[in-house]
């Protein structure tokens, strides 16, 4: 049987999602036994061209923030049968998208100082804003067990089941004490699960790295956050950590209570 050819490409990101594959330690031999990895800069000594491989499935890490990113992504799309938005940056825009809500020139100046004239960037976009995306693996970073399950499922030709339940469901299964009951705040009730509620398990509220759950009850979340001391600005900032550009304006208004 011909092995599934998979590739990993990285755009604007910290490359932490790629690292998740390497962290699959006890499963990594099974994974490389099941697929052929044709591009994976983070873990290879390959010196050839970067975006010139044909692949069955390409994992795109990172958001798209330059014209160069955009052109490269289009090439990858043409040479790949399936595209996976791999992690929060690719899936939502992620942390990088925070700057979309600030003055682009000011941000550039702050980051690059006197080199600012060499820098050409656009607004930060998720992969799906540039090319058609077939699957998304959520999270910052992606969950390594979910990744392994996804890969094995692909090889076996199984349909991928997107997690639907909000973070709270897994949080209960894990027997965490609710962050709200400890006096904190959490976005778990409106955020897509699948991460096994790792943040509440380690004592901090969910920040929404997996994006909003389907059909979230935003007015209720707003009321509860308000009752726990978060005003519109604070809710907005909380949302912006991973979802600055991922939530349509009307929904953002419902959640923050402000335009």
């Amino acid at each position: 049987m011909k092995k599934l050819r998979i590739a990993f490409y990285s755009f604007t990101s910290c490359e932490g999602c790629q690292l998740s594959l390497l962290e699959c330690e006890d499963q990594i031999l099974d994974i490389v036994g099941a697929v052929e990895i044709v591009r994976f800069r983070e873990a290879s000594s390959f010196k050839g061209g970067e975006f010139d491989a044909d692949a069955d499935v390409s994992f795109i890490e990172g958001s798209i923030s330059t014209a160069h990113d955009e052109a490269a992504l289009q090439t990858v799309r043409m040479r790949s049968k399936k595209i996976v938005a791999f992690g929060a940056c690719a899936d939502l825009g992620g942390v990088n998208a925070i700057r979309n809500r600030q003055d682009a020139e000011v941000v550039k100046e702050r980051v690059y100082g006197k080199y600012v004239k060499w820098i050409h960037t656009s607004a930060v976009r998720p992969v799906s804003a540039v090319v058609h995306v077939d699957y998304a693996l959520h999270g910052c970073p992606v969950d390594k067990d979910e990744l392994a399950r996804f890969l094995f499922g692909l090889v076996a030709g199984r349909r991928w089941a997107e997690p639907v339940a909000p973070v709270c469901f897994e949080c209960k299964l894990r027997q965490n004490v609710c962050i709200f009951h400890k006096g904190g705040t959490c976005l778990g009730p409106i955020v897509r699960g699948g991460c096994r509620a790792i943040c509440p398990a380690y004592g901090s509220g969910c920040d929404g790295c997996r994006g909003l759950a389907p059909d979230p009850n935003l007015p209720l979340m707003r009321r509860i956050l308000r009752d726990h001391g978060l005003g519109p600005d604070e809710i907005g900032r909380r949302l912006d950590l991973f979802n600055a550009s991922a939530v349509p304006d009307a929904m953002r208004r419902e959640l923050t209570g402000r335009a």
């Binding site: 499963q27 031999l29 099974d30 994974i31 036994g33 099941a34 399950r149 094995f152 499922g153 090889v155 076996a156 199984r158 089941a161 639907v164 339940a165 909000p166 709270c168 469901f169 949080c171 209960k172 299964l173 027997q175 965490n176 004490v177 609710c178 709200f180 400890k182 778990g188 009730p189 409106i190 759950a213 389907p214 059909d215 979230p216 009850n217 007015p219 209720l220 979340m221 509860i224």
Partner: protein
């Protein structure tokens, strides 16, 4: 009813004896709360616990379990063996005992659930009476599950200096006599026991429910617009069913493992509150709306399963779901509201529906 006395300082030795013969589960502290879990070191046992985050149901129906492993090449199929020793559940509060009784009914309906009964069959269950309410949200007394009931072998009731223990059945008698740790309950213990039981009745005399008419009240309120209002306070997060001692719904998924050499048939808890629970092939969803899902759950707890098994109610009032629910939705509220849905409005709705040619949803 046979009563014995167990001095306080015999509790741990007794737990140790059970732990040698059973997989020993009991309440233990975790992160500022309590959990029911398998305990290796019985000194972690906390019989002074209030309530646990998840009910002890997980001993018999784990949140996730592998039902079968299939070798993809040879097609050989194996059910993973459960560890040899049976389970002992120690210190189960009355609501959870009733919860187990309900679970037994649901999982016992033919065809009985084999993996559940493999774990449940030889389990030894030790109940522990509650002398005070575990948390403000609980309403065990409203559904009459604050008293001993359900499938216990021993029932502990705290009295001065120890516990009066009610023995039930052959296993209860055998374990008690083999342990040699129990004493004959004398007159003063019995008096103390009766006093404690009276005190329990006084403590647990909260709002009584419309148990006799609950299921018909609920079914009549099916068309009530109130469900939509209630759903404004719901996230569809499924926390309520996850913590419920009587919820049994699970999902079965086949997962590929070990470099595609094995397929694992896994079952994991599911929840009727989660959006895709009632979604079927073709994308059709029987309960697309949040309010439909919330209403379904309340009907399930107060009418559907109760009716199926001839009980007045299927909720044991443990209070876990209103405690977990960030919208503070409680079955008690829904049950009490159902009584208020006036017959007149019901008749009106019915007429409207007949006029519109729509038959009432049963």
């Amino acid at each position: 009813m046979r009563l014995l006395f167990l001095p306080e300082n015999h509790v741990l030795p007794l737990a140790r004896l059970l732990a040698a013969r059973y997989r020993f589960w009991g309440p233990a502290a975790k992160g500022g709360a309590f959990v029911f879990e398998e305990i290796a070191d019985v000194s972690r046992l906390r019989l002074d616990y209030s309530t646990t985050l998840l009910p002890p149901k997980q001993a018999f129906l784990p949140p996730r379990e592998i039902l079968a492993r299939i070798d993809i090449e040879t097609h050989e199929c194996r059910s993973p063996a459960r560890p040899g020793k049976p389970i002992a559940l120690f210190g189960v509060h009355p609501c959870d005992l009733h919860g187990l009784a309900h679970l037994d009914l649901a999982m016992g309906e033919p065809p009985a659930d084999a993996p559940y009964w493999r774990a449940r069959k030889d389990a030894f269950i030790v109940g522990l009476a509650c002398v005070q309410r575990c948390m403000p949200e609980s309403f065990c007394d409203s559904v009459e599950s604050h008293r001993a009931g359900g499938p216990f072998d021993w029932m502990f009731t705290p009295v001065a200096g120890g516990y009066v223990v009610e023995l039930r059945g052959e296993a209860g008698e055998r374990e008690a006599s083999e342990s040699g740790l129990f004493e004959v309950a004398g007159e003063s213990w019995k008096k103390n026991y009766d006093e404690t039981r009276d005190r329990i009745e006084k403590t647990f005399s909260g709002r009584r429910l419309n148990l006799a008419s609950l299921s018909s009240d609920l079914e009549r309120s099916f068309q009530d617009g109130w469900w939509e209002k209630l759903a404004d306070r719901c996230f569809s997060c499924g926390a309520c069913t996850a913590v419920c001692p009587t919820c049994v719904c699970f999902d079965v998924q086949d997962e590929i493992a070990e470099g595609c050499r094995m397929a694992e048939r896994c079952r994991s808890w599911d929840s009727c509150l989660i959006r895709n629970f009632a979604e079927v092939a073709g994308g059709e969803n029987f309960r697309k709306l949040r309010s439909e899902r919330l209403r379904h759950r309340m009907m399930r707890q107060g009418a559907y399963l109760a009716g199926r098994f001839g009980l007045p109610v299927f909720c044991v009032g443990c209070g876990r779901c209103p405690h977990a629910c960030l919208g503070k939705i409680s079955p008690l509220e829904a049950f009490e509201h159902s009584r208020k849905f006036p017959i007149r409005r019901y008749a009106q709705r019915l007429v409207e529906h007949i006029k519109n040619g729509v038959t009432r949803h049963e």
